[in-house]
């Protein structure tokens, strides 16, 4: 469904992604793991067009999308849930969700369908429904994350890019967020590309993963295999710390 070939991205002079090639099949959950600055978020931003690729090829459902503007990319069916939620804090929960459907309103899609999708978001996150009139800024971190995911769902995406959904959340809330991500695939068939600090949780959820190091992919594999990989364990799962110290 999504295919990246030799994607290169720069931040000014910094070569952030070097020849990244990866793919997602329909209905897959794939995670990107790697240290800070390895290029995980850059990959999401490059796919969504926020920081466009300087070279390479991004195919979404066999169509080249790398030259499109971010709003066009959303129209093809890709939605990004940015790091740090980035909800519109002064606006109400409901308005945040409505804004997620902005393009659909512009394209004059039947309002009833959009409202139906909103109800679906509410059924997935009952807490958002309880707080529908509250301004988003008053929500807890976990609730804001749910809102950010809900807002992305309002675009009816085929592919959702999730950036650090567990960041700064209490363990129980993290569990809930991960359950929601799992449901997104199960109930809506959404394909998911997930970036997570919590590599272990991400690998437990995902089917496959790519390991990144300084802008390059160094390993691809089934999650179960990556969980057992010694390099991955040492670098991202916090095992063998002691031996690392001794070296």
């Amino acid at each position: 469904m999504l295919r990246l070939k030799n994607v290169n991205t720069f931040y000014g002079k910094v070569h952030a992604l070097k020849n990244v090639s990866l793919h997602l099949e329909k209905g897959e959950i794939v995670t990107l793991i790697g240290a800070n600055g390895a290029g995980k978020t850059t990959i999401l931003n490059t796919i969504s067009g926020v920081t466009p690729a300087a070279a390479g090829e991004i195919l979404f459902e066999r169509e080249l999308v790398q030259a499109l503007s971010p709003d066009r990319i959303v129209r093809t069916g890709i939605a990004q849930v940015p790091e740090g939620r980035q909800v519109f804090k002064p606006l109400s929960v409901e308005d945040n969700l409505e804004l997620g459907a902005y393009l659909r309103y512009r394209q004059r899609e039947a309002k009833s369908r959009i409202q139906q999708d909103k109800q679906e978001v509410f059924s997935l996150f009952p807490r958002l429904e309880e707080r529908r009139k509250q301004s988003a800024g008053t929500l807890s971190g976990g609730e804001q994350q749910m809102l950010a995911i809900g807002r992305a769902m309002m675009t009816r995406p085929k592919l959702m890019l999730l950036d650090e959904p567990s960041m700064g959340l209490a363990p129980l809330v993290v569990q809930e967020i991960f359950r929601v991500i799992d449901n997104l695939r199960k109930q809506h068939g959404t394909t998911i590309l997930l970036v997570e600090q919590n590599a272990k949780a991400a690998l437990n959820l995902a089917d496959r993963g790519y390991v990144l190091e300084t802008g390059k992919v160094i390993l691809e594999g089934l999650s179960s295999n990556l969980l057992e990989n010694k390099d991955v364990q040492r670098a991202y799962l916090g095992r063998e710390k002691k031996e690392l110290w001794e070296r």
Binding site: R3, N6, L22, H23
Partner: protein, 434 residues
Amino acid sequence: MELIWDPTYECMEREEIEQLQLERLQATLNRAYKNVSCYRNKFNELGIVPEDIRSLADLARLPFTTKEDLRLNYPYGMFAVPLREVVRIHSSSGTTGKPTVVGYTKHDLQTWSGLVARFMTAAGVTHDDVVQIAFGYGLFTGAFGLHYGSETIGASVIPMSSGNTEKQIMIMQDYKSTALVCTPTYAITLADKMERMGVDPNSLSLKVGLFGGEPWSESMRKEIETRLGLSATDNYGLSEVIGPGVAGECPHKCGMHIFEDAFIAEIIDPETCQVLPPGSVGELVLTTLTKEALPMIRYRTRDITSLDYSKCACGRTLVRMKKTMGRSDDMLIIKGVNVFPSQIEEVLFAIEGCQPHYQLVVDRVGAMDDLEVRIEVTENIFFDEMKRQRAFLEMVEKKIASMLGVGATVKLVEPNSIPRQEGKASRVIDKRKI
């Protein structure tokens, strides 16, 4: 519908395989360049960095890896992970020269088991089978590879190891082995022994044979199938790359499917080292895509074969390699003609009653190359009459000459006078001093 062990990877569309290969190739190069000084130095010499490889075609820009590299970095120099992550050490079977050391991480062993399970399933092995492994257990990868593959499928494994032919036959009878794993030469040895012991192959439970470790001909397949009463399948692998599990035959027996999600296969001209177009005969070059401990980049296998990308009736979309026709370093150049021992084997098998034990002796008389084919005599080809004997020899000589394009002298020798090594027979003696 035939059984396919891992349809996700064995039945991908060509485009999907190529995407996966590119991703895994780039990741492999990044790891190898970072962790293996031999690769880093070779790349640096050519002024290449992993980022230069942007397509599968770019692979041709990379340097080859040879057995010599493994020897120079003996024993662990080519490993891409620290030794404490290596859980198994094997050694090449040493077809030529000194052995080389290969290592596996825990995950490599899993990968290996899965790959062997694929070709064993393709050959017809299921969890209901009793697999008798008559490969030598030890540094050689053959026995362990097939052992893990059988266990992964859930078959019952009898780790017989090689040798002790009589006992092999006894176990085969008593334990009702349904699958036999050994070299093709040893399969013939077993058949010979059974004949002498008066064991009827039809009284056995054998159903399928998985033969590998050395090149063998189609006629040899027919002989094994008739004499042992099983379906004889070929599989391919080499320790340096992973061991058995690189490729294997499906029931259609029209070439061995290479597991392309784990290996990239190229065919090169062994002389010029140029990549040849699909279908050409040349030396097989393999690049590993999933190995952790010992990634191999463009490893020259020295095995001569060709690749067929056309669709196979079994449903697998993987490229097929022909049975290996010999080794590029085994290839004899006689009077300027390329001769592979396997071609002579083909001729000998075509002659009814002729046993597979033979030896080639190449010598230079004056400035002329001279090829002598020694055949062990059997009852079928021994004649009291000199005239008939000579006629027989002339017939064999004629057939060899028409097959190879060069003449040969055929000589009959005493039964069991050609030395047999456990497993691989030494078939060529080159006395030429060039």
